[in-house]
Subunit: 340 residues, 2 copies
C-alpha cells in the first residue's frame, strides 16, 4: 500500500544549506501534500519563494511536527538534539544534517545510492553524513565492492561555505582587505583564510585528530559497514575556496587493482562523473563542481606507495552532495520506499 | 689551507627566487671577494641594489664564469643545461635551482643541514632540491634517523609564487576579477586559481603522477639515501596562496614511534620550528611562514592509518627553504668546507 503524498517541512530553511535544500527540492520535483518552512525565532516571519509561491517562515516548536511526515533539517546539532526525538515520537521522519545522531547505533547514516537498505532500520531519525565523508562514499563504495578497502589516507581541501554564511562573507572581506594591504582580524576562522590555508576544521579530540577528521574515519566505517581492521586517517584543511570540497585520496585494497577496470567502474557508477584525462589536462577543480550534483573524480593512478593501491582526486559541491542534495535524495528514497 | 674569499655570481638575479637570494645573501652576511649579478639579455642593464651599493645586471654568457668561484643560479632548466657544464669546466661551482641535474648521479642533491657530506663528491655542479621536497627533508631526516622511514604519503598545498612572477600577478588579477563578478581567462595556470585549487603542478609522466609529485619521491630517496623498498607517493595541488607551501604528511616507520619523543626530537632539530599545541590552536599556516626561514611543523599525531606512523603538517616559505635560502646555505657550506 502506498502512503498518501507526504507533508514536508524544511527546518533551517534560511541557512546556507537550507536554501540549497529548497533549490534541490524544486529541481528534483519532489511531490508532497504540503510543505512548511521552519527556522528559529530570528528568521521566523521572513518570506521564502518556493515553486513560484510565497511562503512565510514559521518558528520551529514542538507542536509543529504533529502534522509533518518528513522533516529535512539543517539547523545545527543543538536544534536537532532538541527536536529530532520529538519529531520521531510524533511519527515524523527527521532527516538530520547535523552530527548529533550520526554515530548513534539506532540511527542509519545514509548516502543515497550507497547504503539505501540501512534506511529500513530507521526509528524516526536518519542522519546525513559529514560533507567530507559524503562525497567520497559514492566512488569509494564502487571500488570497495570490487577490491575491498584495507587502508585509506585522505587530505582535504575544504571550502569555507562548509562553515556557513559568516565564513563565506569573511573570505570576501578578508580578501578585499588583503588586496589593499590592510590588516584583517578574523572572527569566523581562527586565522586569516584569505590567501592562506588552515589545518584545523572543528575542534580537536584526544588522539590529536580533529572531529572533522575522525568523522571521515568513523562515518566511512559505518556507511560501508567496514570492520575496525580497516584503517582510515584524514587531515582536514580549510582553503580559500567558496564552494567545493576537494580530497586527495590514497587507498590500499585487499585485492589486485587494475587501473583501466577501476576507471570503467567509476565511469558507470551512479552519482559519480569521471573527469580524468591527463592528455587533455582534464581533472576536477572545485570551481567547476560548484552548483553541480555529481561527485567528480580525476587524477586516477596506481599508487606507488601501496602494492594494491589507487590514488585519486575527488571534488564535489559541499553544499549539495555534502549536505542538501543527499538530504533531498534521502527524503526521495523514504518516499519511494514508503518509510514514512 | 683556506681558499681566498670567493668571487660570487647570482644568475637569474632579477627573478622571484633571484631577488630572494639577494635578500638572504645580505641577511646571512656571506663574505665574498666580489659579486656579480647575471640575467638574460632581457634584464641585463637594469640596476640592483645590494648591501647598500648599486650594481648593473650583466648579460650571462660563457666567458663570465672565467673569474667566478661560486654561481648561485636560478634561471630555469634550459639556462642551467647550457651554462652549468661550462661553469664547472671553468672551476666555478654552479649551485643550481632548476631540476636539470637533480637526478644526475654525478651531481649531489643537497639540503644544507641534512646531507652536507654529499657536497664533497661534487664535480662542479650542485643541485638544490624541488621546493616541496626541500621543506620536508629537515623534519623527515631527524625522524628517519631515529625511526627509519618505510612509507610516506604527502599531499601538498602549494603557493603560486612557486610558479613565478606571472603566477603571482595572475592570482591578484583573477581574485580582483572574481570579486566584481567578471569572467577571467587564466594564462599562467590552466584553470582559474582564485578561490579554486588545481590538482596539477608541472607536466604528467607515464605513471599518471606529475613531475612535481615524482620529484618528492625521487629526490627524497636521493637526499636521504633511501632504498627503493621505501615507498613514497605525493599529490601536488596548487592553492590560492601567495607564499608558503604546506604539506599534509603521513609516514609509516620501521620502528615504534613515540609521539612525545618525536616532538622532542623535532624541537631540537636545526632548521625546524615546532608550532604544535592544539590546546592553544597552535599550528603553522603559510601566511605565518612567509618571509621566515624555519620549516614549521604542527598537527603532530600518532597515525591511525599505520601501526608505526606519524601524521604532521609541515609549512615553509617556498621561496626561502624551498629555493633561495637553501641555495645560499649550500654556498655557505661550500665556502666553509673549502669545496670551491
Amino acid at each position: 500500500m502506498t502512503n498518501k503524498l507526504p507533508d514536508i517541512a524544511v527546518l533551517g530553511a534560511t541557512g546556507v544549506v537550507g536554501r540549497e535544500i529548497l533549490n534541490i527540492l524544486e529541481e528534483e520535483k519532489i511531490k508532497y501534500n504540503s510543505i512548511k518552512f521552519l527556522a528559529s525565532s530570528r528568521s521566523a516571519g521572513t518570506t521564502i519563494e518556493f515553486n513560484g509561491e510565497k511562503h512565510t517562515v514559521i518558528e520551529a516548536n514542538e507542536n509543529v511536527f504533529d502534522d509533518i511526515d518528513i522533516c529535512l533539517a539543517s539547523a545545527g546539532g543543538e536544534t536537532s538534539k532538541k527536536y529530532a526525538p520529538i519529531a520521531a515520537k510524533k511519527h515524523c521522519v527527521y532527516i538530520d544534517n547535523s552530527s548529533a545522531f550520526r554515530m548513534d547505533d539506532n540511527v542509519p547514516l545514509v548516502i543515497a545510492g550507497v547504503n539505501d537498505d540501512d534506511l529500513k532500520m530507521h526509528k524516526g531519525i536518519i542522519a546525513n553524513p559529514n560533507c567530507s565523508t559524503s562525497q567520497l562514499m559514492l566512488p569509494l563504495k564502487a571500488l570497495h565492492d570490487k577490491y575491498k578497502v584495507k587502508r585509506m589516507i585522505v587530505s582535504t581541501y575544504q571550502a569555507v561555505s562548509g562553515a556557513g554564511l559568516k565564513a563565506i562573507n569573511e573570505l570576501t572581506d578578508n580578501t578585499k582587505t588583503n588586496l589593499v594591504g590592510m590588516p584583517f582580524e578574523p572572527s569566523a576562522f581562527k586565522y586569516e583564510i584569505a590567501f592562506n590555508v588552515i589545518p584545523q576544521i572543528d575542534s580537536f579530540v584526544e588522539n590529536g585528530y580533529t572531529k572533522e577528521e575522525m568523522k571521515v574515519t568513523n562515518e566511512t566505517r559505518k556507511i560501508l559497514h567496514l570492520p575496525q581492521e580497516v584503517k582510515i586517517s584524514c587531515t582536514a584543511v580549510r582553503v580559500p575556496v567558496y564552494i567545493g570540497h576537494s580530497e586527495a585520496v590514497s587507498v590500499e585494497f585487499e585485492k589486485d587493482v587494475n587501473l583501466d577496470e577501476a576507471r570503467e567502474l567509476l565511469k558507470n557508477t551512479w552519482g559519480v562523473e569521471l573527469r580524468d584525462d591527463i592528455s587533455t589536462y582534464t581533472y576536477p577543480t572545485p570551481k567547476d563542481a560548484a552548483g553541480k550534483n555529481p561527485v567528480y573524480v580525476g587524477r586516477m593512478r596506481k599508487s606507488i606507495a601501496f602494492d594494491n593501491g589507487l590514488d585519486f582526486f575527488c571534488v564535489a559541491d559541499n553544499l549539495r552532495i555534502g549536505a542538501a542534495l543527499n538530504t533531498v535524495r534521502i527524503a526521495k528514497k523514504v518516499i519511494e520506499m514508503n518509510l514514512y
